[in-house]
Symmetry: C2
Subunit: 201 residues, 2 copies
């Protein structure tokens, strides 16, 4: 493919997608050029458009095209409750439960020293400002629900937030750890059972 | 994400890539928008550029930006030999061996009735025209090496080409089937051993 510079450039560009190696990138490039040139153009337009229009919500830091996202603008939601999640995908999972009617704060990441992600690389300062009440038109935050993932990084992030907000007067809670719905004890890992035992009610 | 139309459009566009489902597409979109907006713009440009510049080689049907690709233009290659492969990736694999000095013909697909891919959807007619000598400036094809994959679809494609060229005076050969280099008989499948036995030399 020595004379095929733009195909080579396309393969390299596709490799920047997470989880895509050389073989997958080649397969994608061949597929688009051979079977779906319209899809390729559509993807190019969608990328351009998203890059120029999508920004972060001034209140909850999630992706939005507006200054403040639709969730944060919703007057029927409890603006005194803030659920802290790592990504918009986690937020979407919480929303699908239909069990939560407060607002969110999306960190857009998690503390991960191994990947060189420190407190300044995720939306922590914005969260602390929000809790401190520097957003005048919003009511004070009453409760902060830490819903970061139950992984080492997620737990660390939750721990740091809880520590930082100690004595701020805001109630900080964490999603309950326990046995998943529909599972049999025999197949649940020991750490989960131990947590479920300690937090029994 | 009700107010996030362009993110939604981007996720849908990414799903057109082969092997990318909803979750992967979301992960890709979040990654690009959060960590690599430059990469997103680069990908958009690469897609646009490839779609407008990459076309099929007039001789071998592979992807190229020129009328005739560099391989087909190379005067040091044997223009009387034509190796028929399914995709540019297969061609690249053949090239890496360094064992072949003829030209190629890239079908850009394989016969696959289940996927609704018939003889007209791949470059078969162009191959037959080429073998029939309708390309005046090229020497006649002496030998056609069928190097389609050794799958059901690849074998069918090879069979159809061999049948169509019967009596055309062109020698049609197939890559040898046999035991892969470095493998132990105990772990080689029975079909391969049977073929290797029949084709012993």
């Amino acid at each position: 493919m020595a004379d095929n510079h733009s195909l080579e450039v396309l393969v390299q560009a596709l490799r920047r997608l997470p989880g895509v190696g050389v073989k997958s990138a080649q397969r994608m490039a061949f597929h688009l050029l051979q079977h779906d040139r319209q899809g390729a153009q559509q993807l190019a337009r969608a990328l351009d458009h998203a890059v120029t229009t999508v920004k972060h919500c001034a209140l909850c830091h999630t992706f939005t095209e507006d200054e403040v996202c639709a969730t944060c603008r919703d007057p029927r939601r409890d603006h005194g409750q803030l659920c802290v999640v790592e990504t918009p995908a986690d937020q979407a999972a919480m929303e699908r439960t239909g069990a939560y009617k407060g607002l969110y704060f999306v960190l857009m990441g998690k503390l991960s020293p191994l990947d060189d992600v420190g407190p300044r690389d995720i939306g922590l300062q914005k969260l602390f400002d929000r809790v401190a009440g520097t957003v005048p038109e919003e009511p004070a935050v009453r409760e902060l629900i830490l819903a970061t993932n139950f992984t080492a990084e997620g737990e660390t992030t939750a721990h740091l937030i809880a520590q930082a907000l100690k004595g701020s007067g805001v109630q900080v809670t964490r999603l309950a750890r326990g046995v998943p719905v529909g599972s049999e004890l025999e197949y649940v890992d020991l750490g989960t059972i131990a947590h479920a035992l300690v937090d029994r009610r």
